[in-house]
Symmetry: C2
Subunit: 156 residues, 2 copies
């Protein structure tokens, strides 16, 4: 049948909008999902006033104290020029600090302040909770691992 669920006569019934030409594209679905997840992250972290990029910087410094700006920036795919304002913002909030490393006076070694350590502790806990909810939505750790593996394949 051509018009199985019609609610008006076929002649006057408006054709339903068909989004499949873009919805079935992997890249499009990827983008929509990513935007949604980031929006949820932003909402969730509003109380910390922390954007995804800011969280990722703090998490990387926490795991790699003393790293150079360029190292953190490159690991996150952020241009070093754009990283300056980002780290300035975190520094102004008293979360991070630049220290002069022994070997190379051109570079800045990045560290969390004591206040930053405490802040990251809470942020990491919130992120772990958010991550757990994502895993639950996917249907468990196995599905999560599958997704991560598929994303890796796609990114190669």
């Amino acid at each position: 049948m051509d018009n199985p669920d019609q609610t008006r006569p076929a002649k006057t019934r408006r054709q339903r909008f068909d989004p499949s030409s873009v919805n079935d594209i992997i890249g499009y679905r990827l983008r929509r999902t990513q935007l949604r997840i980031f929006q949820q992250f932003i909402t969730r972290f509003a109380e910390y006033d922390l954007r995804p990029a800011e969280y990722s910087v703090l998490a990387l410094i926490a795991a790699n104290p003393g790293s150079k700006q360029t190292e953190i920036a490159e690991a996150l795919g952020i241009k070093r020029a754009n990283f300056v304002a980002l780290i300035n913002g975190l520094e102004k909030r008293g979360l991070t600090e630049r220290r002069q490393p022994a070997g190379d006076r051109r570079s800045n070694a990045l560290f969390l302040t004591p206040s930053g350590e405490k802040f990251v502790g809470k942020a990491n806990a919130a992120q772990a909770e958010f991550e757990a909810e994502c895993v639950a939505k996917l249907g468990g750790q196995k599905a999560r691992d599958q997704l991560m593996a598929l994303l890796d394949l796609l990114a190669d």
Copy 2:
């Protein structure tokens, strides 16, 4: 052992950078993969001078000729205010046109021009080729379906 693959004595050897604190986050992996796929799309479609958003608009108009601006924009998550410049660009290139619909003189009905139809034909072919390569990277149609299903679960 604490330092299994050391190439210098442990005392002076620099600790390897550890990106796992962000790399293991679903949303982060999602974003990096999406950016990579979009970059590949942009490179692939450079000869058509077509960005992802522009392609998605053309594809939706092709599948839903006569749609209102707001319908296309909403389907793609684009604010109608921002859609104006986008559709103006496509119209100036002679690919789409606004026609006055019978019922409602406030709205514009969007159509492809004959030139636009030809252009979309080529763009769809290029997209199909790109999509096939993505599916191949994932390991086949079954893996592709798995990925799409997981993304849907995550987006709910």
